[in-house]
């Protein structure tokens, strides 16, 4: 918990270190000529002060701040700001469950994160479950050293080497293109509505993309672990006692082989929450990955800090679950 708090605090403080840009305050760009009547520079300065005041950004950032000394002759002085600072207010609000409001549209951050999660979690959750199930089946199959082992491993290695952006764009241009194979719908054809249900059939292609991207690493690691286990003494004994390779894998080797793969599986949980940025951007899905990427680009810090808190909490949970899983798989683990 301490790590999550430290991380979120760091992001909060770093994000507000410099003066906010006019865009993030919702003000027009003074260096453009597309404004009807350009405001005088003094009016712009006044306007910026008022925007800072209204958005609570005029207060000092932290409990203490450095007093600027123009001459540089005197030693650095620090000023105690008391509790009337941005960080104190933010922390108090977060402890009360209030993540603040988005700079961009004034909506509560929790609501934005919730809506994005409703789209992301079912998609990434289904992708993780599918990838895991297929990886288990595939690794078990490969461990039996069938004739297709080498081409399958080569294919998986090639898939792993393929950047996700190329995979996603390739699938989109190949399978949802009137000039190629027009099998899948594009985003605009999906029904309106939040969450995955209205998007329906449209999610098939992003799902396929996510499964294909997660599958190689899981399968290759699991297959290597299984191969290692099958060479162990207990496996040879079991085979000598007449157990088929299938029974051996299912009843004995798989459980042991899962142990080294557990951290990989645990890593999937924060990814479930953070969303797959590339897939969401390519397929235009309104999920967490796209929300956080756009918030970072637009310097929408309340959303960004809220996202960091959420992903941090998910990672914490994943580590706890991984520990519990390791204990279940191997009771010798303390």
């Amino acid at each position: 918990m301490l790590a999550v708090w430290a991380l979120a605090s760091l992001v909060f403080l770093l994000s507000r270190w410099g003066p906010p840009s006019d865009e993030s305050l919702g003000l027009s760009n003074a260096a453009d000529l597309n404004v009807g009547t350009p405001a005088a520079p003094s009016a712009r300065r006044q306007m910026r002060r008022e925007a800072l005041l209204r958005q609570g950004l005029a207060a000092p950032l932290f409990y203490f701040s450095r007093v600027a000394d123009g001459s540089g002759a005197r030693p650095v002085r620090w000023h105690w700001n008391g509790r009337r600072n941005q960080y104190h207010r933010w922390l108090g609000a977060v402890l009360r469950g209030n993540l603040g409001t988005s700079f961009r549209n004034g909506r509560p951050v929790a609501g934005r994160l919730g809506a994005a999660l409703a789209c992301t979690v079912p998609l990434t959750g289904a992708a993780a479950a599918l990838a895991l199930a297929i990886a288990l089946a595939l690794a078990a199959g490969l461990a039996r050293r069938p004739w297709w082992r080498r081409p399958a491993l080569a294919l998986l290695a090639a898939l792993q080497a393929l950047p996700l952006f190329v995979l996603a764009t390739g699938l989109l241009l190949l399978l949802a293109n009137p000039d190629a194979l027009n099998w899948f719908p594009t985003y605009d054809q999906a029904d309106a509505g939040n969450g995955p249900a209205p998007l329906g059939f449209y999610l098939a292609l992003p799902l396929l993309c996510l499964v294909l991207s997660a599958l190689p690493e899981l399968t290759l690691q699991l297959e290597a672990a299984l191969a290692h286990e099958l060479r162990a003494g207990y496996a040879v004994t079991a085979r000598a006692k007449g157990l088929s390779i299938k029974q051996l894998i299912r009843s004995h080797a798989l459980r042991n082989a899962l142990l080294p793969v557990l951290p990989l599986i645990a890593d999937l949980l924060p990814a479930l929450v953070a969303g797959a940025v590339v897939v969401e951007v390519v397929f235009s899905l309104p999920g967490m990955g796209r929300l956080l990427a756009e918030a970072a680009a637009a310097r929408d810090y309340p959303v960004l800090v809220g996202g960091v808190l959420l992903v941090g909490a998910a990672r914490l949970l994943a580590l706890l679950l991984a520990d519990a899983g390791a204990r279940w798989l191997d009771p010798r683990v303390l």
């Binding site: 000529l33 009547t37 006044q46 000039d179 054809q189």
Partner: protein
């Protein structure tokens, strides 16, 4: 069990592959790269939010896309402008008698008064509007006509006639049903300092407006425009439905700005270009505005796409510009800036970054503006030899004979000045990156060290404001209506919009004279003089105006494509019947 499932899957597949038939009254679906985020008419944080509000609300004057000029919308005619003394402008409007709100109440002068006061009130997200419209100091209603009023403006500038009518009029009843704002003078609100003690009446109005949350629920401050927002799925789709009985339907002849043809307008948010192009090709989106030039050319090259789509290009008002930080001692003199400007190969850059579309320019005035464009000036030509000669005239000399030897000249103190440039541009903008690379290559031929520093969007503008650059490359957004260069080139704007830090007494006087010129002839003369002066002083290097590319379904007409954003008139679009579409 399996056969019906298979059949239904096949049917769904075939349906998704089939051609879409077009009915004349079907919705027009327009593509947006981003969600408008906030539809508050006081905020308008991005162009999409402005376009959406144009469907929900009306201003006194609005842009007529058929003529690319302002035309009366809620006002019944263009305003009457009178000058009073040497510091005031009186602008008189009259509202259309037919104009009503959705509940049937007439749109009256007091709604305009309340809107102006709302734009100046405390506790509201109105800082931008507040600064922009602070020139309107007083609202004078006409005692004999509830629809006539005069706006008293501080100063005398020709653009006041258009700018004074360019804000959305909101119904007083929705945010101030008791009319409590009428007791306040507009000037008192304009001059109200941020530190003034709280006012319970103003606070109540602000609270009521903020509680309505028009940014997310625009229906709560219902406008007198032709459409209502029927659905808004964030980051996905906005659906605007035409009001069945809109007051302007009865106007004969219907002014262009009050035309609202489509029964329904759907805006589909697709940020990814590949996805957007696919949607257009599949016929599930009808209009794709501001198409990236590469996608535009790719679509144009496809025979199948040409059969289905119509392609429009026009010249935008956005000019790609390089700007020097004239506060740097090495760049403080015009000869050095002139020399460096010759290192841009604008002709090749236009081909490389805009596929040859767009147009080169000599200055900040659009080349198609025959009256004001300084056509006597030649276009800048890439010439490293002449650049080197100009550098020598500016006092610079090569530090050696090897190609990487830099340039130096004696500084005011004992330390010599070195010529080395830090070039900033927005990261991720491939066109700017190309320009930066070309400039660096040209500079390297003269032995000038150039460091390219692509800068993340949020840090870019603060870095330019702080003067942390030698040369920037950015898009300067312009407009066809107002020639006022004070925000970007007047010495008073240094530290604000004047990023170059340029400004001389002569240039300040000329910029003020251009802004104040009332007659078109005088304005043209001064604008030409201004362009010549800027060429001489060279604080900015305007490279080229960008094209505005639009692709739409062939069966759409009345798009009025133009350089003015969004580049089409959404409310004027109509579907044509197959017979008409087939006609030449």
């Amino acid at each position: 069990m399996r056969t019906p499932l298979l059949i239904s899957l096949l049917a769904a597949l075939l349906a998704s592959c089939s051609e879409h038939s077009v009915a004349p009254n079907q919705p027009v679906r327009i593509l947006w790269a981003h969600d408008p985020e906030n539809l508050d008419p006081l905020v308008l944080p991005n162009p999409n939010a402005s376009d959406a509000n144009n469907l929900l609300h009306l201003s006194l004057l609005q842009v007529d896309y058929s003529t690319q000029r302002h035309a009366p919308a809620l006002a019944d005619s263009l305003p009457r402008v009178r000058l009073s003394g040497d510091s005031l402008t009186l602008i008189t409007y009259r509202l259309r008698p037919a104009a009503t709100w959705d509940d049937g109440r007439p749109v009256l002068a007091r709604d305009v008064d309340a809107t102006l006061k709302l734009m100046q009130g405390p506790g509201l997200p109105n800082e931008d509007a507040r600064a922009q419209f602070s020139f309107i100091r007083e609202f004078r209603p006409d005692p004999t006509d509830p629809r006539r009023f005069t706006l008293v403006c501080q100063g005398q500038a020709p653009e006041f006639a258009q700018a004074s009518g360019d804000f959305f009029i909101l119904p007083e009843a929705s945010f101030d049903p008791q009319g409590s704002l009428r007791a306040y003078r507009l000037a008192a609100l304009v001059d109200r300092p941020a530190t003034a003690p709280p006012d319970s009446v103003l606070a109540a109005v602000a609270r009521r407006y903020n509680q309505a949350d028009p940014g997310q629920h625009p229906e709560r401050i219902s406008g007198c425009g032709p459409y209502t927002l029927a659905r808004w799925e964030k980051d996905h789709r906005l659906q605007f439905r035409r009001k069945p009985h809109w007051w302007a339907d009865a106007l004969r002849p219907a002014p262009f700005v009050l035309r609202a043809q489509p029964r329904q307008l759907d805006f589909v948010v697709i940020p990814n270009e590949a996805n957007a192009t696919l949607a257009l090709r599949r016929g599930t989106v009808d209009v794709y505005p501001q198409v990236p030039v590469r996608e535009f050319r790719r679509l144009q090259a496809s025979a199948a796409a040409r059969q289905q789509l119509a392609f429009y290009t026009s010249l935008s008002y956005d000019v790609v510009t390089a700007g020097f930080n004239t506060r740097r001692p090495a760049l403080a003199d015009r000869l050095t800036r002139q020399a460096l400007s010759l290192l841009f190969d604008a002709h090749a850059l236009l081909r490389a970054t805009q596929q040859g579309m767009g147009q080169r320019t000599v200055g900040l005035v659009r080349p198609t503006d025959a009256r004001n464009y300084a056509d006597s000036l030649p276009l800048l030509s890439y010439n490293t030899g002449r650049a080197a000669a100009l550098l020598r005239r500016a006092g610079w000399h090569r530090l050696g004979t090897e190609p990487t030897a830099g340039w130096a000249r004696p500084g005011p103190g004992s330390a010599p000045q070195r010529l080395a440039l830090l070039v900033r541009y927005r990261a991720g903008e491939t066109a700017f990156e190309t320009i930066g690379l070309q400039f660096r290559a040209a500079a390297a031929r003269l032995g000038i060290a150039v460091e390219l520093r692509p800068t993340e969007t949020g840090s870019f503008t603060p870095a330019l404001h702080a003067g942390d650059f030698d040369l920037y490359i950015r898009l300067l957004k312009g407009n066809p209506f107002i020639f006022n260069f004070a925000p970007i080139l007047h010495s008073r704007a240094v530290g604000e919009g004047n990023l170059t830090g340029f400004g001389t007494p002569a240039s300040d006087r000329l910029i003020e004279a251009v802004a104040a010129a009332a007659s078109p002839v005088l304005k043209a003369r001064l604008l030409r003089k201004f362009q010549v002066m800027m060429r001489e002083e060279m604080p900015l290097v305007p490279l080229f105006f960008r094209p505005n590319c639009l692709v739409a379904n062939r069966r759409l007409s009345h798009l009025y494509p133009g350089g003015l954003k969004p580049g089409y008139a959404a409310a004027a679009i109509t579907w044509v019947t197959p017979a008409v579409a087939a006609a030449p």
